[in-house]
């Protein structure tokens, strides 16, 4: 039995109205990378919270054994003491503090109450070097890119002598390069004996890195497979275990016939808030036609989000540019103006900017469209309920009722709420910023279908995505942004991964 470093047995965890974990058993061997996959709301994050003591012993049924010893964690501290460290998708670093301060936060180096900065710095350097992270221990976290922050989190876990490292969707917000780097570091850690539990919706990564895969569906363990043995799974195999059926197509491409130009953007430039000399968006012009999906490709940090936010009236200072909607000049100074004109912007940061987490599904769904759901400022409750229920149904949002607070929904279902919220405003132009981040493969497919439906109804869609297959699979046309400038445009039939990457990294065609 104790050839498992970790065993979770018959775990049952209930929330009001939901049985999030239904008799889950989960076993991890020492020194392996064990991927945990499943649809949105399958219970992955909940299982991890049970493991780490966020949901304390007594709030669930079942047992946890580490090294064959039964454990009853009441706090996160308890699980850390036996060597379990969890890295959540929302990083737990203090942005105003330096790397070294963060590394030893709560376990400062030195004696009594005096911090010995020399020791701290030397040790910090050691951990940073192990992770091939080339930053000064004195650098402030907020000045590091997200990929490096992720690695600092891992260093922090190692500093706590973690033996079991749990990563909940670590690459969801990383670009390809940072993701690849993270994966190779995880492999090195494994080879040094660190056990790793890895949650991701990116099945490519899972196939690349996992020694073992466990699939959850609806709070139940569907199966655990050794990826080096005869039962090894391919992508289709994982998907069919996840969703319980075969999924043949990844991208439901529909031939659209683009009509007249709806949105015209000319010479759009935006000042960089960090450096007033620089332009974060530099002279960008593009058109969006009726009935098409315009993909916006580029590397992370290329200025795509800033461009769209600024079109939407929600970002910094515009230096130049005009925007025409159906030939009418728009003068947008706030998101309110933008919504009135018929624009909608689905943010990439659903928790920070998309949702009011303490409000329920109904209130979040209606928030941007209250104007249409009210008369003389008085909200038409019945209509509000009806619309919210309609979207819960059509987007297949998994929630016990529209009265559930969105903070209690799983990540992917939260994303669908944000989508529903903006569809409800009935936009002419729908801007989607990383619309399928953190969304499972089945739900992605649903969202693509919804996009196609909307386009069918005459909505124009602008989609920013850092996942190349998605941009190429869904767009009718792709524009590529490099360092704030438009660096080329491709029709879908000619857009390949290579061409797009070349443009995204600043190259020119031919």
């Amino acid at each position: 039995m104790s050839d498992h470093i970790l065993e979770m047995k018959n775990i049952v965890k209930e929330f009001p109205g939901v049985r999030a974990l239904d008799n889950v058993s989960f076993q991890v061997k020492p020194g392996e990378i064990h991927a945990l996959v499943g649809e949105n709301g399958a219970g992955k994050s909940t299982l991890i919270k049970v493991l780490s003591g966020v949901h304390p012993n007594g709030s669930y049924q079942g047992q946890i054994h580490v090294d064959g010893q039964e454990q009853r964690f009441l706090h996160i501290k308890d699980s850390e003491n036996v060597g379990i460290a969890v890295i959540y998708q929302e990083l737990g670093l203090v942005p105003q503090m330096s790397v070294v301060e963060n590394l030893f936060l709560g376990a400062e180096k030195g004696r009594a109450y005096r911090i010995d900065w020399d020791v701290a710095n030397t040790e910090a350097l050691k951990y940073l070097k192990e992770l091939r992270l080339d930053v000064s221990p004195k650098a402030l976290i907020r000045n590091l890119g997200i990929g490096k922050q992720q690695l600092v989190e891992i260093a922090k876990a190692l500093a706590k002598k973690a033996r079991i490292l749990v990563l909940d969707e670590p690459t969801a917000a990383l670009n390809e390069q940072d993701s690849a780097n993270l994966l190779s570091i995880l492999r090195e850690l494994r080879d040094r004996g660190v056990t790793c539990i890895y949650i991701s919706h990116k099945l490519g990564e899972v196939l690349e890195i996992a020694d073992t895969v466990t699939v959850l569906r609806d709070g139940k363990t569907i199966g655990t497979r050794d990826m080096h043995g005869p039962e090894r799974l391919d992508e289709a195999g994982i998907v069919s275990l996840m969703v319980g059926r075969e999924l043949t197509e990844r991208f439901p491409r529909v031939e659209h016939t683009p009509g007249e130009v709806v949105l015209q953007v000319r010479d759009w430039s935006v000042q960089d808030p960090e450096n007033s000399e620089k332009r974060i968006v530099d002279n960008v012009s593009f058109d969006v036609r009726k009935g098409e999906i315009l993909g916006v490709a580029g590397l992370m940090g290329a200025g795509r989000t800033e461009l769209m936010m600024s079109l939407f009236g929600a970002y910094g200072k515009r230096l130049s540019g005009t925007m025409l909607l159906n030939g009418q000049q728009l003068n947008i100074r706030s998101p309110l103006d933008a919504i009135r004109a018929g624009l909608a912007y689905v943010t990439e940061d659903r928790k920070g900017k998309g949702l009011v987490l303490g409000m329920d599904v109904r209130e979040n769904t209606s928030l941007a469209a209250l104007k249409y759901l009210s008369r003389f400022s008085i909200i038409n409750r019945l209509e509000e309920i009806r619309r919210a229920e309609e979207y819960v149904k059509s987007l297949r949002i998994k929630t016990p009722s529209i009265e559930q607070k969105v903070k209690n929904l799983s990540g992917g279902n939260q994303q669908k709420v944000v989508l529903g919220k903006w569809m409800l405003t009935n936009p002419k132009v729908l801007i989607l910023d990383e619309p399928t981040r953190g969304i499972d493969i089945g739900a992605k497919f649903e969202i693509y279908n919804i996009m196609n439906d909307l386009v069918e109804k005459g909505v124009c869609i602008v989609m920013i995505s850092s996942e190349l297959p998605e941009v190429l699979g869904m767009s009718d046309r792709v524009i590529v942004i490099h360092q704030g400038r438009l660096n080329g445009e491709l029709h879908w039939s000619e857009a390949t991964q290579e061409k797009t990457m070349l443009l995204a990294t600043g190259g020119t065609e031919k």
């Binding site: 009001p16 706030s334 309110l336 009135r340 009011v356 209130e363 941007a368 008085i378 019945l382 009722s401």
Partner: protein, 403 residues
Amino acid sequence: MSRSIDGQASASMQILQNQLKHNVRQYAMFIALIGIGIIFTVLTNGIFLSPRNLSNLLLQTSFIAILSVGMVLVIVGGHIDLSVGSIVGFTGAFAAILQVNYGYSTLTVVVLTLGLGAVIGVWQGFWIAYRLVPAFIVTLAGMLIFRGALIALTGGQTIAPLEPAFRAIGQGYIPRLFVNTEATSGFHDLSFIVALLAIAGFIFFEMKTRLRRKRHGFSNLPVPLFVAKIVAVAAMLWMFFSVMVNYRGIPYSIMILMALVLLFVYITNNTTFGRHVYAIGGNREAALLSGINIKRKTMAIFVIMGALSGLAGLVFTARLNSATASAGNLFELDTIAAVFIGGTSMRGGEGTIVGAIVGALVMASLNNGMGLMNVSSEYQLIVKGLILVLAVWFDISSRSNNA
């Protein structure tokens, strides 16, 4: 047959337990209120529960409660207002001077004073919403400014007396209609009618909500629990009103308060303004991207708070029949405490009007009970401070338990 009833009963018990567990905070407020009532009743040999005192208690509650209604919006919206005490004093003195020195009629005085409160709200709202100075600072400044203005205005003198119509706002009772018309105490028919209407209204509203929820397939309490709840709340309402029905009737200030509560419960639940305030407090960025005009809503919050402060100033001045330089001292603390005791979250985005009213009752009961016991004012402060810490600690811990 009997098994299914058993099953039903145990299911009801289960739901009851769940309900208790997940609504501890709401029940706790009422339990605390009742507990405080019992303690003071024992300590004062029953004087606390005498009709005369209870009626007094309600009058004492009214101005803190009026302020709490506005303060809920302020705190839910993610701000704070430290200036309400000074504004109560200042607007009250303004009102008294208009009447005593310049002979304005009560109606004119009321209108002008509410207007002054609103204007003060515009002033503070301007700095907070449009100049982005934190509300803590702006209203801390307001606390000094309006206290200073009050002292300057009154010159340290007491300004009195007021006309009967003005006094009635803080001391008067609604009239008797048919029975006991000449008496000053005993069964009060109009109050009885108001009480019946209120209770009937409550039951009607509960039934309507229940039906609506049923139609949408939302979870509802099982019938026995629902009936129990209705009976319990109706009984509490009746206890509340019976004090007044059997004594001098409902004070005007309580009528004003009830109207305000109804209005603001409606505003917070059913209007876009209310929804926007909660959204701004819950997640400012998301509110902004959803097209909410944060500046304008913030301004509106402070204008409402200012006007309500003016109203509280009127009620308080009328109750004392005079204006003094120390009027309204520390009201901001009682008000903020009432709002937090009533379960409003310090981080914004969460809180209810009804909770704040219960909180105001708690604070007023403490003031009243300790006053009856002749506790000296320094110990009153200590006790209130301790209760505030305990109440908020309880609120926070029960919040994280069922998160």
